[in-house]
Symmetry: C2
Subunit: 634 residues, 2 copies
């Protein structure tokens, strides 16, 4: 590892110019093994290649070549440029964490093709403004031009933050200058139907010291909520144009749009010292977490408009819980975390491990677009060579008409370790656990820390200092909310640490190990009584992982809807999951001619023990039915 000579640009996702806390760059943190090493390998070797191959094959990448050649013929829906950009962002982060000559070469080739499609004035979109296409900026509701630009800019920022100021950042500079002319203080009073460009612009402003970019982001945030977008079927709240950002009480409408906008608004608030805006968005997210979020951390209760439902409207069987909404919530919570907000790291852990990582198939070549909490019937296994609409009723699919999720997975996993830890002027805070090493500088002193343990499967997290640090050094540890209380072992002494942030102070000797012990017994979870859809049901968690019951673990004559938790509730931790005492419902299936009437007398069936495994792995053994929430016998 080396220290960059461009400290202002190098970093991870989100580098505020203000504030005490900063994330680490790919040069400062590195995965060394365990669960996350497997995830990173899958992303590098399978997911990134899969996205690249698909887009080349179906002509999304060559859209840029055609524009460069003066041909406006376009493959795919309007905003597929964004998928190429998210792939570029994934490659940039990946290259930042591990050199790879072949990937670097491919990356540069792709960037060259993108750059060749840029118009003289900086505009760059393969769907609008060229021969045979609709004119630029004629469809802010659905055209997604600014959304695509946002993804291009984020990809450029990833390149800058990984130490390269080359072609893509220059393309982004031309584009941002165009946007400033077109949409700046004297430009069009418009916003994009899909928020995204806001956070990209702030980040670009940070990475290139471009105050216009930050100001333009601010304008976009402030313009929203004033009806600049024409009405659509789903109402103005679909794209958060119903009320000004700072006046909203909760996230609403399209879930990805909502969390992307929240991310951009936090960036603007931090960069402009707008404490009111920051407090408003933080409150909105807290309310969303407390009333509109699934156990997996997923969001989005409506398939129709991919949107939040009302408070406590959280049907497990119709959970939309789009993979991209999970990614978006990581982005927003990471931004809150950097402001010092509590709880954000707990939320990142939950949604990363239980929703983001549920999406890719174990071979990295198919993805859940939606992440249901209850699959009533065995889903359909899509074939691995066909683009499908959204896989709403199926298992993981290789590619989608709107294929936002695979590339979002790729860029998130490529940068995953950059969400693990933060540094302040006096120390290091560890937010996520696993096997990784940190090599950074705190108060001009080199600090090397090695984190180990088989987290998230085992509860012993060991933190070893590879360099000695003095008594002015602070080590912050997250004791997860799910643990309620953890145990810190330091120099043989055990101390109970309640959930939240625990701080230990130096000196730490070279080779000294701190251990955080977390309780890993499987535990029963009950829902809030206002969540109608899962009343009288329980779920099981182990450590940070939500477990699920899959029909593959049941006697062959039963599906998951044929069982309930036995009133004796027998729960035992086993391996990565748990054993739970269930009983079948008898007679099966109960089908009176009319399913409403007098109370059904309890008719206990046979007892048996079934294994529950981490939800994120479900559906990897072929079509199955699955439940996270299981009815408890009355």
């Amino acid at each position: 590892m080396e220290v960059s000579d461009k400290p202002s640009a190098v970093g991870g996702p989100v580098v505020p110019r203000n504030g005490e806390r900063r994330g680490l760059s790919p040069r400062e943190i590195r995965i060394t093994g365990g669960y996350w090493a497997d995830v990173k390998t899958l992303n590098r070797e399978a997911i990134i290649a899969h996205c690249d191959e698909w887009m080349e094959r179906i002509g999304w990448t060559s859209n840029f070549d055609r524009i460069a050649a003066g041909d406006g013929t376009h493959a795919g829906i309007e905003f597929v440029d964004s998928e190429v950009y998210k792939l570029l962002e994934a490659m940039a982060w990946q290259l930042g964490s591990a050199p790879d000559a072949a990937m670097e070469s491919r990356y540069l080739q792709l960037v060259g093709r993108v750059a060749a499609a840029q118009d003289e004035d900086g505009y760059l979109d393969t769907s609008f403004g060229h021969a045979g296409q609709r004119a630029r900026y004629t469809d802010f509701e659905w055209g997604h031009e600014l959304y695509c630009f946002g993804h291009l800019i984020q990809a450029a920022v990833a390149r800058l933050r990984t130490g390269h100021d080359d072609l893509l950042p220059n393309v982004a500079r031309k584009l941002v200058a165009h946007l400033w002319r077109e949409f700046g203080p004297n430009g069009r009073q418009a916003v994009c139907g899909h928020p995204e460009v806001e956070m990209a612009l702030v980040e670009f402003g940070r990475a290139t010291a471009n105050d216009d970019a930050v100001e333009l982001a601010r304008l976009f945030v402030e313009r929203r909520g004033h009806g600049l977008l024409s009405p659509v079927r789903f109402g103005a709240e679909y794209f958060q144009d119903d009320v000004p950002v700072r006046s909203a009480e909760v996230l609403r409408g399209h879930a990805v749009r909502a969390y992307y906008l929240a991310s951009g608004a936090i960036d603007v608030a931090v960069e402009t010292n707008d404490t009111d805006l920051l407090a408003a968005v933080e409150r909105q997210i807290e309310t969303t977490v407390s009333r509109r979020t699934y156990l997996t951390g997923g969001v989005g209760a409506h398939h129709l408009d991919e949107a939040f439902g009302a408070d406590y409207e959280l049907p497990p069987d119709r959970a939309y819980a789009e993979t991209c909404a999970a990614v978006a919530s990581v982005m927003a919570n990471w931004r809150l975390l950097l402001t010092g907000a509590t709880g954000a790291d707990d939320r990142i852990e939950r949604v990363l491990l239980n929703n983001v990582l549920a999406s890719p198939r174990q071979d990295g070549r198919a993805f859940f677009y939606t992440n249901t909490l209850h699959q009533r019937t065995r889903g359909i296994q899509p074939d691995d060579h066909t683009v499908i609409e959204r896989a709403e009723t199926s298992l993981r699919a290789p590619w989608f008409t709107v294929s936002c999720c695979p590339t979002n997975i790729a860029r998130t996993l490529a940068s995953a370790e950059l969400y693990f830890a933060t540094a302040t002027s006096d120390g290091i805070d560890l937010h996520q656990y696993g096997q990784y090493e940190i090599d950074t500088t705190v108060a001009s002193q080199r600090v090397r820390i090695d984190v180990s343990g088989d987290y998230p499967f085992e509860g012993a997290v060991r933190i070893t200092f590879a360099t000695a640090v003095g008594d002015d050094f602070r080590l912050g540890l997250r004791v997860p909310d799910w643990a309620e209380v953890g145990t810190i072992v330091r120099r043989g002494a055990e101390t109970a640490a309640p959930s939240g942030r625990t701080e230990l102070f130096g000196p730490f000797a070279e080779g000294e190990t701190i251990e955080l012990r977390l309780p890993m017994d499987a535990r029963i979870v009950h829902p809030h009584p206002r969540i109608d859809a899962i009343r009288g049901q329980i779920a099981v968690e182990r450590g940070p992982l939500v477990l699920a019951l899959e029909s593959t673990e049941l006697p062959p004559d039963l599906e998951v809807d044929d069982v309930e938790v036995d009133p004796e509730i027998g729960l035992r931790t086993e391996g990565d999951g748990a054993q739970l005492l269930l009983r079948s419902r008898s007679p099966k299936p109960q089908s009176p001619s009319w399913p409403y009437g007098s109370a059904e007398p309890a008719a206990p069936g046979r007892q048996f023990v079934a294994r529950l495994y981490p939800y994120s792995r479900w559906g990897n053994r072929g079509p199955s039915s699955m439940r996270i929430w299981i009815p408890a016998a009355p």
Copy 2:
């Protein structure tokens, strides 16, 4: 009332050429007062006029004029012709039950404009095949041409059945001849993406003794389920093209399509003596009723594709329960009833009173398209002058982009009394109650019966014979399933009659009155334990009516989600509804930062009594929250 001289044509909806049981024509049954008289008046004076005015105003009616003038300019989506036809059908039934010179004149004017748009070869569609339009039959998946034809033919059948063989039946004759050439045994092997033409063709064959029409319907039914339609996003089951009709186990896919197809399949089965097909469809409907039907009789659990969910997937807050699906289920169950199937009249009652009649606003000028069972937040009141998409998150709206529901309401209410009673060779069966008179002929003998009582609000149904009948006369009475047991009072003697069909035999003297007494105390209803979404909740019914709790009946600081049924369960019948002991949830609202964890300790709030009223009336007093299913305190 007069006896028609065209007995083969005159009748109500569905006149099988085989079978023991027949419906009555508008000349044989007449509403005389009470609840249904109010409904009929609303339909005649408001709903029919409303539909006519809207379609004239927004150019759907004048689509026909433009085609006649050689202008292919088209207002509205592809299949708005069908709305004009459903209006014509409504007018035909209405005119059949009560002469109305102004309506007759308007009817004839509209028919003239439709007829003028018919092509030489019989084809008649304002969206396809003319200047600037797509070619005929180039989009079976979404074009809806045969669907529109079906509605034209049904309107023509209504005209024939009400005693007029004039212009519209002749238009239909030319159209059916065209269809026979185009789609008959030697024609295209195709089906329409939206079933509807099947039942229309059988009925037209019956009304005009046209065997080709019946055979064509049979071909359409048999062709479906063999992949003749190209795949769509929602899968082949969306338009029931997944398996052959006779092989399916349950209704699935788009709910209106499913019940329209079932109706056509029953018609084909009856007309061709295909007992296997009839048994298959009857089984499918029974399974659908027992596992995929809401308490209101409504169907359709998914907004996205307006479709059935899986078995027992019946979320009250996302109930789609489209008004048209309710109408379609009446049509299918009426066909089953005529075959002698039991339970069909109970289902017709439930869905008519609780879903069909929930749709129109009390002034008949706005409609629910979807009929939710749980409105969490106060809906939006659409303005009365704007076409909206579907009113999914709003109160009743005046008109829709796809405006199938208002005209479906109009034609159903215009013919409602024709679903009330049937005749056999030895008697009369009364299936629905209210205030009406029957004047018909049984075994060559005139029979006049007067039915009275304030049903559905009061449980005393009185049946008075206005003519004497002999001992060979049979009077069949439905004792509703919700009643479990009724009491028959005849000549002072009381007899208990279990739910189902009860038969009384003559002689009945002129002026003799039979009374059926039904228990009208409000009652608690529990859901089947497999319906996850309403576990631990109860509903209240009174007589045939489902009651609902509306926020207008709560203390001003509470919405319906803020209350639960008090464990003491106090329920008292009151007026048309009931009083129920509730308690507030306290503290309100409970918002921990994360809504899952340990079991919530019960925190009883204050007790109070709230009134519940018939669900069908809800939302007539402005925006409110509403629940049918109310959580029962643990």
